[in-house]
Symmetry: C2
Subunit: 167 residues, 2 copies
Amino acid sequence: MSYGQIHETVKELARRVTEAGFDPDVIVAIGTGGFIPARILKTFINRPIYAVGISYYGLDNLPKATPQTIQWIDEVERKLSGKRVLVVDEVDDSRVTLEYCLKELLRHRPTEIAVVVLHNKNKEKRGHLPEEIRHYFAGRETEDLWICYPWDAEDIALHEDQARATV
Amino acid sequence: MSYGQIHETVKELARRVTEAGFDPDVIVAIGTGGFIPARILKTFINRPIYAVGISYYGLDNLPKATPQTIQWIDEVERKLSGKRVLVVDEVDDSRVTLEYCLKELLRHRPTEIAVVVLHNKNKEKRGHLPEEIRHYFAGRETEDLWICYPWDAEDIALHEDQARATV
């Protein structure tokens, strides 16, 4: 996907979140994949962004035994308790990272948590959405293929050309 | 600037950081403007990203009396002490936010801090770089004008067309 396609997808997700009546107090970006979607989302739903870093894949791109926390929210109880939280990530793959993150966030008694992801891969999920999650928005449903995000491109001009060619 | 131009600028900044011999242990993204540059930078310099949220402008786009911390790094001493830190932001404007952030980070005794920004505005700076900062890289030097970043675009197709037209 090109940057422009990502931007349009996020804009559409913001519209769907708003139409569903979910008005967040804060955005939580799951890093590092959620950083760029979350920052674009802020243009359309202007709320403070808290970033958390969760790594489920090692440098070899293979999943680890459990997700590891790179960064968590400081003074998390004060920031989340009684708040409506919109969690943003780039891709819902095995759902393990998402479940881990949502369960950790739910411990701090937010009023509600909604989830937006750019892509949901249609596959058997090893992680599960906690029952407290009533709003879940995926920009696109995809097959279980590797998604080439523009921010990972070594050669962005080539990437953008290829993204345009595969629309 | 288009997303493609931002991506190219970050790639070039990564090359300059590497050529200067600065090999960071961690990246610190100053949010929310630094989130997108930092995530792109990670493609070229693959290190963990810690995000901090600092807001110096209110919803009216006017500067506040002092920068406000939206989020800070949890367990910051353990994460920064003895580390080489690469701080990333989108624009060095008045330099007040940057000075505030660098002084806070320096309290935790990193080995060294280097700074990269996409744009440095050539103007009288009210903030100053602490003397400990020996490496500072700006992708572009600009006049004191409002910079239209792609992530702020309501209409990304229009923005990208305009960015191409003004190269």
